[in-house]
């Protein structure tokens, strides 16, 4: 075990404040750049899965600057607040949706000593924070004073409650195997075997629940555009809408990162490929899982609201509970 308790930034810079600023800056840069890359990947992958090309013009080479152009466009848009809306709540809702994912990124390890913060309760912190995001959606839906928005928000809330349980239980199984709540610790515990192998059904459950938490297709009932326009985001324009979009892609990145930490060995290399440094492995796994999330969107139609709830409570939760029981037995039996 090469368990490093302190971040490489802290060991390099002895001054606490210098290290803090550097860590905050790096986390912020990752939070602003990686979701854009994932968004661009979604444009391209979705297009090619439909035999299209996707963006080809912006920036010259295969439309690489498309999302930056979109961002510039969003900034220029008029910031409309509906007359009946609750102005204050309406305005802070995008922030409430966005910030939790930024905060979660703080505890994600990108290497044995490359992380901003190694919390002892890491996974607990991640799961608690990632469920705050839906509060922003709920605030947006309520304050918009629009029935479609409210319905979208309530669907989002119902979906979060339903899928939070399998998500947490799947994470709990990995925590039980690792014997620690720290994300770095969970990764280090996978030195011998990535948890995706003993916990494969739970990995699937975690990914399904993560996709549902992010309200991504095929679990996008809260924003089902054919029924309720765009759910809680219906009334949003300009930069506030862009924040919601960014929080969706930030959420994809964070959920992929957490899934790769819990099940795919995080920054650990595949056997025999240890020359490639940890951060590259971590980013590779994040992008691979993000690709799968986009792939699901390109393939599957939207589930109906009742199917969605039934699937969570009748299928996912019992499967997860059974598997946890098994894990517990194995853990006790092997000491």
């Amino acid at each position: 075990m090469i368990l490093a308790q302190t971040s490489a930034v802290d060991t390099t810079f002895s001054n606490y404040w210098v290290a803090l600023v550097i860590k905050a800056a790096v986390v912020l840069i990752i939070f602003l750049v990686v979701p854009l890359a994932v968004g661009y990947m979604e444009h391209k992958v979705l297009a090619h899965m439909q035999a299209r090309l996707g963006p080809m013009e912006a920036g010259g080479f295969h439309g690489w600057a498309q999302l930056m152009a979109d961002g510039a466009k969003f900034i220029q848009k008029e910031d409309v607040v509906p007359a009946a809306a609750d102005r204050a709540v309406f305005s802070i809702a995008p922030g409430v949706a966005l910030v939790p994912y930024l905060v979660v990124l703080v505890v994600i390890p990108f290497g044995g000593d490359i992380f901003a913060l190694n919390l002892d309760i890491g996974i607990f912190f991640v799961l608690a924070m990632s469920s705050i995001g839906v509060l922003g959606v709920l605030m947006a839906g309520w304050s918009s004073a629009n029935k479609f928005s409210l319905m979208g928000a309530l669907r989002a809330a119902a979906q979060l409650i339903a899928y939070e349980l399998p998500l947490v239980l799947a994470a709990a199984a990995a925590v039980m195997l690792a014997g620690t709540l720290s994300l770095v610790g969970i990764v280090e515990a996978q030195q011998n075997i990535w948890y995706v192998i003993p916990l494969f059904p739970l990995f699937l459950v975690f990914m399904v629940a993560a996709v549902a938490e992010l309200t991504r297709p095929p679990f996008d009932m809260p924003v089902a555009d054919s029924e309720i326009i765009f759910g809680a985001y219906t009334e949003y324009t300009g930069l506030k809408f862009a924040f919601f979009l960014l929080s969706e892609y930030g959420g994809i990145v964070v959920m992929s990162a957490v899934a790769s930490v819990l099940f795919l060995g995080g920054f650990l290399p595949l056997p025999g490929l240890s020359l490639i440094p940890g951060p590259i492995w971590m980013f590779g796994k994040i992008f691979a899982l993000s690709f799968v999330i986009v792939w699901l969107r390109a393939t599957f139609p939207r589930l109906r609201e009742d199917q969605l709830q039934r699937f969570a409570w009748i299928k996912l939760v019992p499967v997860t509970l059974l598997w946890i029981l098994g894990v517990a037995f194995v853990k006790v039996a092997t000491g």
């Binding site: 090619h48 899965m49 439909q50 035999a51 080809m56 699937l204 393939t299």
Partner: protein
């Protein structure tokens, strides 16, 4: 990852397939499509390869026009403008003077035209026909009235008709 609440014969068929197999098939379809070349033609950079009988715009072969006004009268939204005058010619060998209609103006307002093709259909001398040209949009709606010079230019790019399919009826009139 199975579908919930399957009913009727389709439900049974799904059960025979096994749980989740259909989902995997769907995933493989999208993945294979992604790995294939996309069909998009990058239009402004690459001109599209259009079929020979593309109905892009209505072109005029002026030499064939006898100014019979059939097209402009049949046009449902009256978008064809024709001006003409009569000229009389004294035949060289004497006798009654012959009159001929001379075309002064032939224009189609493509802002009005709905591309029904009735004018092409009724033209008795094949002066009007479809051309595959399609890049004739303008910034001002008034400029969408295209005069006969432009209509004539569009005839240059009409492709020869494709060969008849096997077993097809021969064209009426033996071709002109």
């Amino acid at each position: 990852m199975a579908t919930t609440e399957t009913r009727g014969p389709e439900g049974d068929a799904q059960k025979e397939q096994g749980i989740g197999l259909g989902l995997l098939q769907g995933l493989s379809v999208t993945l294979r499509t992604m790995l294939k070349r996309s069909v998009t033609v990058q239009y402004p950079h690459v001109k599209p390869d259009l079929p020979a009988r593309t109905r892009g715009v209505i072109a005029l072969k002026e030499a064939n026009c006898t100014v019979c006004y059939k097209c402009s009268r049949e046009c449902p939204d009256w978008c064809i403008y024709i001006d003409a005058h009569k000229e009389t010619h004294e035949p060289a060998g004497g006798g009654r003077a012959r009159s001929a209609k001379i075309l002064d103006r032939f224009a189609i307002d493509f802002a009005l035209c709905m591309y029904c093709g009735i004018c092409v259909e009724v033209c008795p001398f094949d002066a009007l026909f479809w051309s595959p040209e399609f890049e004739y949009s303008e910034y001002d709606i008034n400029d969408m009235v295209h005069e006969r010079d432009r209509l004539e230019e569009w005839t240059y790019t009409v492709l020869p008709p494709p060969a008849l399919e096997e077993g097809a009826e021969p064209p009426e009139g033996g071709g002109s």
